[in-house]
């Protein structure tokens, strides 16, 4: 930046927001990644990639502007970065090669370890220990995801979990009692069978057989409830082909192949659309589905996932994070941290996550008026929020998870479409997954 512009900005900053700056400076007295101490008055531009759709992107741009107004020496250059969140990964990859990566980027949780291993992320492990951050207010799965290999590389961005959503009208029409938070998977199976009506193209439930992570992650809660785990204790080998995994997949296979009560969706979007249109009785879905349901005027309800043993209603959470990147510039590092912390703070987060229909990031937001409005606007939001406590196990974030996920997804897709038996399919997938884990891709 031109020195003169910088000076002008600096003086403006000094007069307008001296108080705010002192506050934030006090919050982050711990050392940054570079040896040189940050100068919080210097003019700085930080780049943020959000990977968001139009509406949430607008909200974030508005928040970035608020941040700039409060700290006029900080310009937040905020953009989606890529047309879809998926596309951020190749984009970041290319940016690492050319050295044009952003200061902050939205990341799927599954990329976290990869990012940390790249050595381009900031390590804010010590900073988030500051009591003012209230790190413990984030759900445990989200904190674990933001902490690959024991290093905190960013802040949780969006938290979610899987719950059971059902169509009230279809349950009434079939004369069935609605699902409850204490349902078992046997109740689920019986209801799905009764709801299915091939003549009307109505299905009891749905499962994606696209073979992507969508196929895979809906399976993990069942595996965990049966007592299985995705990886061995050292995170080096696949362990999902255990008896627990076989039992969980056998259960799904019975529903899909024997009962034919499962709509097998060839892509990850269609079954949600059909649920919205009232053709599917129950789906395992999360907070992102709420606004669609409401927009479609669907009369729906939400409960915890059913359990196998009557007590364990364990679910999965797929938290996404704001990852902070290291540019060996203490000023940029300082303001990246400040911005991410501010964005995910108790005061700011409702303006993003609750406004877009996501769950609140922090437990303390439950008492906010925004949350009350949100829960009223979206039936079931409260259940989804409470369901966070059932997300006790984090989805693995090891490098190689992407390959593992595809192997498992394809195995599940195969079995549910009546090809091959659960045990053999999971064993084959485990072999492929071990290769992916060993090669870390």
């Amino acid at each position: 930046m031109h020195p003169r512009t910088a000076r002008t900005l600096r003086s403006a900053a000094a007069t307008a927001t001296a108080a705010a700056l002192m506050l934030t400076a006090a919050c982050s007295s711990s050392s940054s990644s570079s040896a040189k101490a940050a100068d919080p008055n210097k003019a700085v531009t930080i780049t943020v990639w959000t990977g968001q759709d139009v509406a949430p992107e607008k909200l974030l741009e508005g928040l970035a502007k608020q941040f700039h107004d409060a700290h006029p020496n900080v310009t937040v250059d905020i953009s989606p970065g890529a047309p879809t969140t998926d596309q951020l990964l190749p984009k970041l990859t290319a940016a690492f090669t050319s050295g044009t990566y952003p200061d902050i980027s939205y990341n799927f949780g599954s990329w976290a370890t990869q990012m940390q291993v790249s050595g381009r992320t900031l390590d804010i492990t010590d900073k988030v220990k500051d009591p003012s951050v209230q790190w413990a207010e984030f759900p445990p799965a989200a904190r674990q995801t933001a902490t690959p290999n024991g290093h905190v590389i960013g802040f949780p961005a969006v938290v979610d979990n899987l719950a059971l959503m059902y169509n009230k009208k279809l349950f009434q029409a079939a004369g069935l009692a609605e699902p409850t938070n204490t349902w078992t998977w046997d109740d689920f199976r019986a209801a799905a069978k009764k709801l299915t009506d091939p003549a009307k193209n109505v299905y009891g439930t749905a499962y994606s057989v696209s073979g992507t992570e969508d196929t895979t992650w809906h399976f993990w809660p069942l595996l965990w409830q049966k007592g299985g785990s995705v990886l061995n204790s050292g995170n080096t080998k696949a362990a999902f082909d255990s008896d627990a995994g076989v039992a969980a997949l056998t259960f799904l296979r019975q529903m899909a192949v024997d009962d034919k009560s499962v709509y097998l969706s060839q892509d990850d979007q269609k079954y949600a659309d059909l649920f919205k249109s009232g053709l599917i009785g129950m789906i395992m879905s999360g907070p992102w589905q709420l606004s669609d349901n409401v927009a479609a005027n669907l009369d729906y309800g939400v409960t915890y996932l059913p359990s196998f043993d009557g007590t364990n209603h364990q679910t999965i959470s797929g938290p996404d994070i704001w990852t902070l990147y290291d540019h060996h510039d203490s000023d940029r590092a300082y303001w990246s941290y400040q911005f991410a912390q501010w964005l995910t703070s108790q005061q700011t987060d409702p303006k993003f996550n609750l406004a877009t229909g996501n769950l609140p990031l922090r437990s303390s937001e439950a008492s906010s008026t925004e949350f009350q409005d949100y829960a009223k606007q979206y039936p079931g939001a409260q259940t989804l929020f409470d369901n966070l406590k059932n997300a006790t196990t984090a989805r693995p974030t090891v490098p190689g998870y992407v390959g593992l996920s595809q192997a498992v997804g394809q195995a599940i897709a195969k079995v549910l479409q009546g090809q091959g038996d659960p045990k053999a399919a999971l064993q084959d997938a485990a072999k492929a997954a071990d290769v992916a884990l060993a090669q870390a891709d």
């Binding site: 190749p90 990859t93 073979g211 060839q266 992407v402 394809q410 897709a413 090809q419 891709d441």
Partner: protein, 351 residues
């Protein structure tokens, strides 16, 4: 055949011209040689170097200036080709010998990616799908394209409308076609199954059935792509001189004989061209797969390019993906050269 005669005449003229040009160049260089020799002899005799500005110096300067002028025209395009085509291609080759996920440092692994690929059942099935698709599709598009072109090459009412109607799908983007096809061939709610129900025929899986999916995709691709071969054939048909056909008619050839002995031979070069073109584009079929099935169900519609895309961009296996891409490039090159050689040997002027 007048058409053929014309071409060979032109070729002869061209060949002659070229020969004449070479002769001229030789003459020029001889002149230059003779001109420079006395100068050199003179220099030797006097024991001094030729004065600057002498004939030799001017000739060199003129050549340099000519070179510079030429390159100033050619350089921008050359830079674009080097920067956007050759450099990435060379880089991709280097990547194909690495294990690289794009983020962690790359590891040199020699030819391991290629070796791994030879044993990868997924890659083999992608190759099988693609080859089968090509072998089935290209002849169909050639025959059907020629048939439709002949049908459209006559003076009937609304001919312009028919031609336009046929051409429209070619203009539709592959993404739009894919989305449209999803609606038509949906297993539960699609138009195609509704039609079958009205006709009291059993419901089909279409894109959701492993055994039907490649056929359905071929059908969709044919819908979008047929117009291209029709247009090329139509142009070729209108290029056949009418006096040839007239002569054949006067000689008593019936319609079939006219087609077999006049039209078909005239279309041979175009057939080779369309064949090569379609083969290359079908070997690289991708967008339609991406927008309809994502290679599913159960990988039954995974083609080579979709396999490459999945490896490189979904699984971040850039090295492996590049290796597969290079294999496809090599195979396409060999097939194309083979067709060229065939065309040359059978004296078909396709390119």
């Amino acid at each position: 055949m007048k058409h053929g005669i014309l071409i060979s005449d032109h070729e002869k003229a061209g060949g002659g011209g070229a020969r004449r040009r070479t002769a001229n160049t030789n003459a020029n260089s001889e002149v230059a040689a003779t001109r420079s020799t006395p100068a050199a002899a003179l220099a030797d005799a006097n024991g001094t170097a030729p004065a600057p500005g002498g004939p030799k110096w001017t000739a060199r300067r003129r050549r340099v200036v000519a070179n510079l002028t030429g390159w100033s025209f050619a350089a921008p395009a050359t830079l674009i080709i080097l920067g956007l085509t050759l450099f990435p291609a060379a880089w991709a080759f280097l990547i194909s010998r690495e294990h690289w996920n794009g983020i962690a440092p790359a590891r040199q692994i020699g030819w391991d990616n290629y070796r791994l690929m030879a044993q990868d059942p997924d890659f083999r099935s992608a190759v099988n799908h693609t080859v089968l698709f090509t072998v089935l599709y290209v002849p169909v598009v050639l025959v059907l394209g020629m048939f439709l072109a002949i049908a459209l090459n006559r003076k009937i009412r609304f001919i312009a409308f028919y031609r336009t109607a046929l051409f429209v799908p070619l203009v539709v983007s592959a993404a739009a076609t894919g989305i449209l096809a999803n609606f038509v061939f949906d297993q539960q709610f699609g138009l195609a199954n509704n039609l079958l129900r009205v006709l009291h025929l059993p419901r089909q899986g279409f894109l959701a059935d492993r055994h039907e999916v490649m056929w359905v995709i071929a059908l969709i691709y044919l819908w979008t792509d047929l117009a291209f071969s029709v247009i090329v054939y139509l142009a070729a048909l209108q290029d056949i001189p009418t006096d040839c056909l007239e002569a054949a008619r006067i000689d008593g050839a019936n319609r079939w004989q006219q087609f077999r002995h006049v039209i078909l031979p005239s279309l041979a070069p175009v057939t080779v061209f369309v064949g090569v073109w379609e083969t290359i584009s079908v070997l690289q079929i991708f967008e339609l797969i991406l927008t309809t099935t994502h290679g599913g169900p159960l990988g039954a519609s995974q083609t080579i390019v979709y396999f490459i895309y999945n490896q490189a961009f979904n699984l971040s296996r850039y090295g492996y993906g590049s290796a597969a891409a290079y294999t496809l490039f090599g195979a396409t090159l060999i097939i194309t050269l083979g067709l060229f050689a065939y065309a040359r040997r059978s004296k078909i002027e396709a390119f």
